[in-house]
Symmetry: C2
Subunit: 161 residues, 2 copies
Amino acid sequence: MTSMAPSRTEHDLSFLLDHTSHVLRTRMAAALAELGLTARMHCVLVHALEEERTQIQLAEIGDMDKTTMVVTVDALEKAGLAERRPSSTDRRARIIAVTEKGTEVARRSQEIVDGVHTAALGSLPDKEREALVRALNRLVTGHLETPAEAPQPVRRARERS
Amino acid sequence: MTSMAPSRTEHDLSFLLDHTSHVLRTRMAAALAELGLTARMHCVLVHALEEERTQIQLAEIGDMDKTTMVVTVDALEKAGLAERRPSSTDRRARIIAVTEKGTEVARRSQEIVDGVHTAALGSLPDKEREALVRALNRLVTGHLETPAEAPQPVRRARERS
DNA sequence: TATTGTTATACTCTATAACTATA
DNA sequence: TATAGTTATAGAGTATAACAATA
């Protein structure tokens, strides 16, 4: 969003990526909200369906904190789309089991996600679309693979009770 | 970040745009931090240098709220990079004047910004780089021009004093 | 001792509301 | 009445710390 260059938006990669990802995110959020889902809920549903996975594993896949995963799974349980089940091999861990209703919702939400992506990519000429996806994949696996660590502020210890 | 597709990351446009923009943003923040700047501060400096502009005008350009602009200008003043000056035509408004030091810092921060962008784009083959920029510009001015409005939550009135 | 999941909470960010002074 | 800038603060989002159960 923040314009990084004086009157040369066309080559401001920061602006271009921020703007497109932000707008796409709002589109996705609005589309998924029709099913009562957030992007995170969709993400968890889809990956929990693939195979038996614990909260930690799903958090890793979705690049969420484990505490964020707790509230996401809470929401899925409350909506009747998934359930926590004890792991048979590790009594600390919970397997996220997708319900029948959750399976159906995930099928529809995946259609929505694909539709939003297809609509965006479909607005581009074939050659350009292919090059865009190729270039982004090259950046994601190459020069823009890992974030620079931010100058993190310190956090005070919690008050003892 | 949130993976939107089951084991098909290569075509997950949400993931690709979110990841690249996020990583680029952290790179930019880290690089600008060396000068003691945030992306917003750089943005305001650069556009305040172009011509006489008020806070509101600069907020518009940087897509910031006017209250966010207040803290950004506070930071610039505190660092001795810019000053608030009364507008000669509207006594409500403040012109953001860049100091000599601010002018020099802006020159260097623009070099940093350009360098980060050039490094990222330089990791791509020529044809792919050109197509990426063309495709992103087409999306920004076309299908992904305007955000979908989020289902905004209500805000309670402030307590009267 | 380390790890999973949980709760509680602190912190950041940003937007909203109300306000002052002008227009 | 409307607008520029300010202050105070609400609210969302998320990360940190501590903890209980288990490995």
